[in-house]
Amino acid sequence: MTVRPLSFLDRPNSYIGRSVPRPNAERLLQGRGTFVDDIRLPRLAHAAFLRSPYAHARIRSIDTAAAARQPGVARVVTAKDLAGRYTPWVGVLTHLKGLKSAPQHPLAVERACWQGEPVAAVVAESRAAAEDALAQIAVDWEELPAVADAEAALAPAAPAIHPALGDNLAFTRSIEAGAVDDAFARADAVVEDHFTFARHTGVCLETRSILADFNPADRQLTVHHSSQAPHMMKEIILRHFPLAETGVRVICRDVGGSYGIKIHVYPDEMAVIALSLLLGRPVKFVADRLESFVSDIHAREHQVKARMAVSKSGEILAVAIDDLTGIGPYSTYPRTSAVEGNQVINLTASWYRCANYRARLRVAFQNKPPMSQYRAVGHPIACAVTEALVDRAAQAVGLDPAELRRRNLIADEAYPWTSPAGLRFERLSHQRSLARMLELMDYAGLRREQAALRARGIHRGIGLASFVEITNPGPAFYGVGGAPISAQDGCTLRLDPGGSVMVAISVTEQGQGTETMVAQIAASVLGVGIERVRVVTGDTERTPYGGGTWASRGTGIGGEAALQAAKALRANILALAGAILQTAPAALDISNGWIVDAASGARRIGLDEVGRAGYFRGDTLPPDVQPELVATRHYQPRDYPFAFTNGVQASWLEVDVETGFVALLKHWVVEDCGTVVNPLLVDEQIRGGVVQGLGAALFEECAYDAQGQLLNGTLADYLVPMAGEMPDIAVAHLITPTATSELGAKGVGEAGTAGAPAAVMNAINDAVAPFGARVTTQPATPQRILRALGRV
């Protein structure tokens, strides 16, 4: 535990560090949440989309006449019906040098470039009527050759998906640090692997949903959106539709899971906005599950070649990686599809001392759905590659894998530290985390159990994975490149006459507990019971301007804004109380809803009395006093581009070597995310993230044929992790607050997903090591394990 000077976080009755259940969970437990599909408006119409059945095809013509005549149909549109009503978008950022992409439109203009791309839309009085009409649309397709494989897309003879761009290489970048070739030359052992990470997707239980409501009478567009970043969405709308800044409102109420899926700009959602503008009535679109599989962003399709040089004493001398990722035919907007690969090469091996590092990234266009940021963006790949090589290196030099890590993880006293790729770490705790993990999981005991069971033909494996996680990004992440993505967030706190506190904040809630975390901070600083705090999020008209929730920034950035705003409101309240009581504000404090004497704690006047005096009884106040019972503060990180966290995960599993089936027995996470506001919520974020990673490790992949056709696009065929196969997950914390904010909190939302696939892959390989088998593909399906074992 790091010692830091006493602050507002240590006040009596502070909620910081307490596992408070979420006040806003009650309505969800009673079926009274408000998700986009729950919203009813007069004259609400429903949109459905005709999507390309081909991965690549020219649209010769579309005949919508029969569809338009169907009962209940308000309008049928294709790209030409929307022309001039929007401006197209391009998913590039200037700081990703050389990144190129082609313009995108709400509906495909003359060519569809992925199976699932929207091509026509029907607006009707019900979704069923809209779908009936879709069946009446006749499209004359000319199927074109599809380039589905990323490697093939970069072959010299491969046809460019966008001829104006020249080729299919969207982005490339290289890193060279230290003396890499020297290090490999003098190594006692070099280990090398070729990794394949399958494309997969987010599968939010609430599918993408948007309700665009344009009122032509006052030219006000209200968008109810299942999304993480309402202000960003508003800004996007302003950039691409002819609307005034004062004429757009975006509201995000209950969101049924997002994990990054709902932070991107989707053509069908932009089409819905265009349709509402066109028709002057509310239009709703809720993706169904089948279309989600071919229209949500995909993630994590990588082929990685990686090598590690190690000395016989177990020192990692050098790491080299080559990452090829396929991103579909467009770089997504506004965050681009280059960030994931960029993070892979930035992050790999960065938690080890080794200074010699070489990396090359190639990002390729292909005829598959666009790929982009999804929970833990790039970390799962960087961690899996690094940690798999570390285990192999340990094997090569005859060291225990935990011991090799101990010898190479950056020392806890070595900070601040800059990695070979230029990542700046303020202060991490890798060594102590590893030690804590080995104790938590009883590593030595598990090794003994493993050995005993092996003798009986039962093959269990232990897999470790150390990692870092990017959280709390500053403006150099996106804003610098021209994206309308805010790295700052704002919080307004207001004391109401009855002594309760209204909080409006620009970070958003998707179930992780944002509103609760903010209420805890506000209540702690202001000295009120948490039941007196109401938090409002997700509305561009009711909250300050800010970036929303993504990249694990809600607590670190939103929480800090709430803390500062609460301090400012407290000062305003005490100034007024001081005027009322004719006492110096510095001699007063607020505790349990009372203004108290700071020294003795004696109650002087209720907070509600101060509120009423301020709002209703100005006549009782000194003439120069203007009560200001509201305060707003904004915050963005300044000192470091990211607040890195660190952790280590471990997996204990059993491989049935006859069937290739893996049983996950137990999973552990040791996480250091700085100040923990609500341990219950933080631990559950970690668990949820771990299980998404376990899904990637064992089950999830979007299976495509060579023509870019998705072969498993239903929930029966695409395998998401379910309760029966998942282990219990133990979580422990170390706490190294960041000194860059008063709250000291970093982020944690993605840590579970970052390290889980690595731990599982290592555990599988540990289990099958006696057979000389090795698996370097995810998901590690029974067939892949059987093949590695040489059984088939």
Partner: protein, 163 residues
């Protein structure tokens, strides 16, 4: 045979009479016709469990039943189970344990958990996972849900509520 069918049924204890399109499934009927939006559609192929409700005392997938089939049936949704207080201990345990995050799966899971505890008063963690194996949750990773159901089973057992 017709495109629309007359049905009379009870929903959460209330008598309901409606003329429904033959092809309207129970999820859509509950949400669109009766405004009971607590029941949710996550896949419409019966796999995710978000739409699970109780029909004639048994948990079923509302996306796989047509409203037209339910003449004379007794339907209970999350709203009814909440108002009657039948699952108040499950809801409290879920709340305390944070066994929900976005909440989209929660109604279906509560209906499934209620049936598990009715049929198997002392489930092991493995039994709980097995019974909930048809309810998809993307947020929690299931551990907290298993904890919460286990807690309720223990509480009900201690209170002598086991049949």
């Amino acid at each position: 045979m017709s495109e629309a069918v007359d049905i009379r049924l009870t929903v959460n204890g209330e008598a309901v009479a409606r003329r429904v399109p033959a092809r309207q499934n129970l999820v859509d009927f509950l949400r669109e016709e009766l405004g009971l939006t607590g029941t949710r559609a996550g896949c419409e192929h019966g796999v995710c469990g978000a739409c699970t409700v109780r029909v004639d005392g048994a948990a079923v997938r509302a996306c796989l039943v047509f409203a037209a089939q339910l003449d004379g049936a007794r339907v209970e949704t999350i709203e009814g189970l909440s108002e009657s207080g039948e699952i108040v201990d499950l809801q409290a345990a879920f709340h305390a344990r944070n066994a929900l995050q976005c909440g989209f799966c929660t109604a279906g899971i509560l209906v499934a958990a209620a049936e598990l505890l009715r049929d198997m008063p002392r489930p092991s963690r493995a039994d709980i996972r097995d019974h909930l194996s048809g309810n998809y949750c993307r947020c929690t990773g299931y551990h907290a849900i298993v904890d919460a159901v286990e807690t309720v089973a223990r509480q009900r057992g201690a209170a002598g509520n086991t049949p």
